[in-house]
């Protein structure tokens, strides 16, 4: 479920220059890239930059203070700290390069194949990866030190293998998320080989996360490499940042400041790698976060212009409702002045296509707009009280008790970690304040009422143990459990099969009549409207274009948009007549 969410909400970096641009347009990314570039250049041109050879020693400059040719002073053997830092960059980066190459090549390749082909191969590879991940890598490197010899490069190679699981898991998860995408099926139908699908489609989509991981692993390897050298492992004759720290540590009580420079070099290099990774990640997640609005537009909550009392028999009256979400340029209105009237015991259909604002209108009535969303103006009179922009605490007292909600997707709207019984009794205990035992009795009655063949079994089941149709009945049971006056149902049957839909609609109709509930039914399906609604409001682009009695609406629609929509309904078409053709010679 998590990967599906990520799939939908993270726009991929498209365009060949997208990745580079995303780094350079982010100020921190730019700084990081510049710093990293500088370190790389220093490493390459070390002999030109360093004033001394790394192992030049001047005996009278042991632990010397900065100055007199030694820019940052001398170390414990009288060598120039600055020159050693410069050469250290070279050796440190070589080690990091080895680790990154090994881990990314091994990890990404195995991840691609495990993810794409799955099956036994995946099980074995994942087991190996889990095994590697459960080893404390530093301890293993220490244990292997004698056999690997003093060359730090070989240790870094082994470390690369130990870090490969990071790439493996990342790649495998990405591939698992991508491989069932329909465009992979389409590529297969087009005749692409598996290898070309992996290279052409999958690698294209997963490259950004892999680059982020490369950056992170480079950072880790620099830290671990310095750690090993700090412990005295590796060839001590080669200047390295970790080795310099070891030297400084040995002289710490004499010159405490000498520990500063090598550590700073490590930190700055690693930090720029991390910042680089963050810059790319930020770009990837752009669509994911609520936009931080630099200067929030002033909320001019207009007092309701019409304050005349709500007519007799009307439960809910929405007047000129405007709902907006903050964007960089100001408030974007998704509902632009909607007015609705709902009488007691009436079913009002709210119909429209996607983006018409019907669901946002419903969420506004519940006071449950998504993050950032606000009612900008207008009023929602519920039982003679304006509940638009009511404080959350007051709104909460209405929800469940007086206004209830049935969502669209039955499975994702039940908490997977709790039994149905708990989820059914929790609102009753909270809202009605009845005892758990009483709530349980009621829940079992409700489950029987919504058509569960075995209420007790459903009561004790977890959500993943029941079907979608049953889950929707459970959600309906929960919604009506506290005898609400108003039920807001958002596409309650859209996710269900037609035969199940017919049964659930029947259930809703019976319950509505039994309890004399008022219902707002949000839907895009005119068949559902014709089946259950008394009156209908048709929405388009955040506005209601027509409100009409249900028989009137279908018999004599007034607005052109309604006519167009009804014209698009596919009922009652004359079937097509087949004209035989020969199987051959089909012209394109």
């Amino acid at each position: 479920m998590m990967s599906a969410v990520q799939q939908k909400s993270s726009p991929s970096l498209s365009g060949r220059s997208g990745l580079l641009r995303s780094i350079l347009t982010n100020p921190l990314g730019l700084i990081a890239a510049t710093l990293l570039g500088a370190v790389v250049l220093i490493a390459i041109f070390a002999p030109l930059i360093a004033p001394f050879a790394p192992d030049d020693l001047q005996i009278f400059k042991v632990n010397a203070a900065p100055g007199d040719g030694y820019l940052l002073g001398g170390d414990g053997s009288g060598r120039d700290i600055f020159s050693r830092l410069v050469y250290g960059a070279r050796n440190t980066l070589i080690g990091a390069l080895i680790t990154v190459s090994v881990s990314s090549v091994v990890g990404v390749t195995s991840g691609l194949f495990a993810g794409y082909f799955g099956g036994r191969r995946e099980i074995v590879m994942s087991w190996i990866s889990d095994g590697l991940m459960s080893l404390p890598s530093l301890i293993v490197l220490l244990a292997f030190y004698q056999s690997l010899g003093s060359s730090i490069e070989i240790s870094m190679l082994v470390f690369g293998v130990m870090l490969a699981p990071g790439f493996y898991r990342l790649t495998r998860n990405l591939v698992n998320g991508v491989k069932h995408e329909l465009y992979v099926d389409a590529a297969r139908v087009s005749g692409l080989s598996d290898l070309r699908i992996i290279v052409g489609h999958i690698l294209l989509v997963i490259r950004a996360p892999v680059i982020i991981q490369i950056s992170v692993v480079a950072g880790i390897s620099i830290v671990i490499q310095s750690g090993l050298q700090f412990l005295g492992l590796g060839d001590t004759s080669i200047p390295t940042w970790g080795g310099m720290l070891q030297d400084a540590f040995a002289n710490m009580f004499v010159v405490p400041t000498a520990i500063f420079w090598p550590g700073l070099a490590i930190s700055v290099t690693v930090a720029s790698l991390v910042l680089l990774a963050n810059a790319i990640r930020d770009r990837l997640q752009q669509g994911n976060r609520p936009v931080a609005v630099p200067n929030m537009p002033v909320l001019a909550v207009k007092p309701a212009t019409v304050t005349e009392p709500v007519a007799e028999g009307v439960l809910l009256e929405v007047r000129d409702l405007v709902v907006g979400y903050p964007e960089k340029s100001g408030w974007t209105e998704v509902v632009k002045g909607v007015s609705l009237t709902l009488r007691r015991g009436e079913v009002l259909g709210l119909v429209g296509e996607s983006g018409s604002g019907k669901t946002q209108t419903a969420f506004a009535m519940l006071g449950l707009l998504s993050t950032g969303g606000r009612i900008l103006s207008g009023s929602i009179w519920f039982d003679s009280r304006d509940i638009a922009n009511l404080p959350e605490e007051d709104m909460r007292k209405l929800r469940g008790r007086r206004i209830a909600y049935v969502p669209q997707e039955p499975m994702s709207n039940l908490d997977p970690a709790f039994r149905i019984g708990y989820q059914l009794t929790e609102p009753m205990v909270t809202v009605l304040g009845i005892s758990k035992a009483e709530a349980r009795e009621r829940a079992l009655t409700l489950l029987a009422r919504v058509g569960m063949p075995n209420p007790l079994r459903t009561f004790n089941a977890y959500p993943h143990q029941i079907s979608g149709g049953m889950a929707q009945r459970v959600l309906i049971a929960r919604a009506i459990s506290c005898n609400p006056d108003l039920l807001i149902a958002d596409e309650p049957t859209t996710a269900l099969d037609v035969t199940v839909q017919a049964e659930v609609l029947n259930l809703l109709r019976d319950l509505q009549a039994e309890m004399n509930m008022s219902v707002i039914l949000v839907t895009h399906n005119f068949g559902v409207v014709a089946d259950i609604c008394h009156r209908v409001s048709v929405m388009k682009d955040g506005r209601v274009v027509e409100t009409n009695d249900v028989t009137e609406l279908f018999a004599a629609p007034r607005h052109d948009y309604t006519k167009m929509l009804l014209g698009a309904v596919l009922d009652d078409v004359t079937p097509r007549v087949y004209q035989p053709r020969s199987g051959k010679g089909v012209a394109a």
Partner: protein
């Protein structure tokens, strides 16, 4: 190839582990014809479509395409016209790779089948976009710049790139808005009348299937319970499940819907 039959499924069976998801499927599609495949979730209709496309398993039976058996042969190993069988999938948001331009998407099948080089394939893009009524400057843009309906047009253009004799359409209009849905269906019909391509049209929506099909097969639990002319199946269904399915879908007319609801109820009570 009598009667212009281009696809013939003969006793096709598919098992997923212990599950028997396709049971002795027999089905034919004729040249230039649309066969609607309707059923509820889990009925096996998508599995059958994928088996014909070569991206789903076949445990036994034969699938003859213009005479040659293509059952179990993956698309890249198919030869001749069988290699040109194409697909249009349900979700226009995931059926186009977000990192590729429209031109890359449309030329991919042509290049993969080595029908033309990159330059020649690119030259075809304009004609393909034209066929689905999209402007030719669409070629250099990315899928995210298009609406759902437009994306589905792009997917149709991709399916047409190899000039196929058969396109398997898996719920191609289910994710679209009502008004877009009607226009895309009209496009399907128009293309069929012009090119003579045959469709196997998989959908859960009987109204959609009735709109576009010449013949309709109703699936349930991995079996075809009824297969016949569209008018016959959708107006005078023989099988009780087809009747139930037909009556369950609400129609946009309150008076008639009330009658149908009563009939659905009666059917349900009668079955008990």
């Amino acid at each position: 190839m009598t009667d212009g039959v281009i696809v013939e499924c003969i006793d096709v069976n598919t098992h997923f582990g212990a599950l028997h998801v396709l049971k002795n499927i027999n089905l034919t599609v004729r040249a230039g014809e649309t066969v609607g495949l309707v059923g509820e979730s889990g009925s096996g209709k998508t599995t059958l479509g994928r088996a014909i496309l070569g991206i789903g398993p076949v445990s036994s039976g034969r699938i003859l395409f213009e005479g040659q058996d293509i059952a179990g042969i993956p698309p890249r190993d198919r030869k001749g016209n069988a290699a040109a069988i194409q697909a249009v999938f349900q979700d226009p948001y995931t059926s186009l790779n977000p990192s590729m331009t429209i031109e890359d998407i449309l030329t991919e099948p042509i290049i993969a089948r080595r029908q033309a080089g990159r330059a020649e394939a690119s030259a075809k893009v304009r004609a393909l976009l034209d066929q689905v009524a999209l402007p030719s400057d669409a070629a250099f843009r990315y899928p995210r710049e298009f609406s759902g309906g437009q994306r589905q047009r792009i997917a149709i253009a991709r399916a047409l790139a190899l000039e196929p004799h058969l396109i398997v359409c898996d719920e191609p209009v289910s994710a679209l808005d009502l008004s877009t849905q009607a226009r895309v269906l009209d496009l399907f019909v128009e293309i069929q009348e012009r090119t003579g391509v045959a469709y196997l049209f998989v959908s859960h929506d009987l109204a959609v299937v009735r709109h576009i099909s010449h013949r309709v097969a109703v699936m349930r639990g991995g079996e075809i319970v009824e297969f016949g002319d569209c008018d016959q199946v959708t107006a005078k269904p023989q099988h009780s499940y087809t009747r139930r399915l037909l009556l369950a879908a609400p129609v946009a007319d309150p008076v008639r819907q009330a009658e149908r609801r009563a009939a659905f109820h009666a059917l349900a009570v009668g079955e008990r």
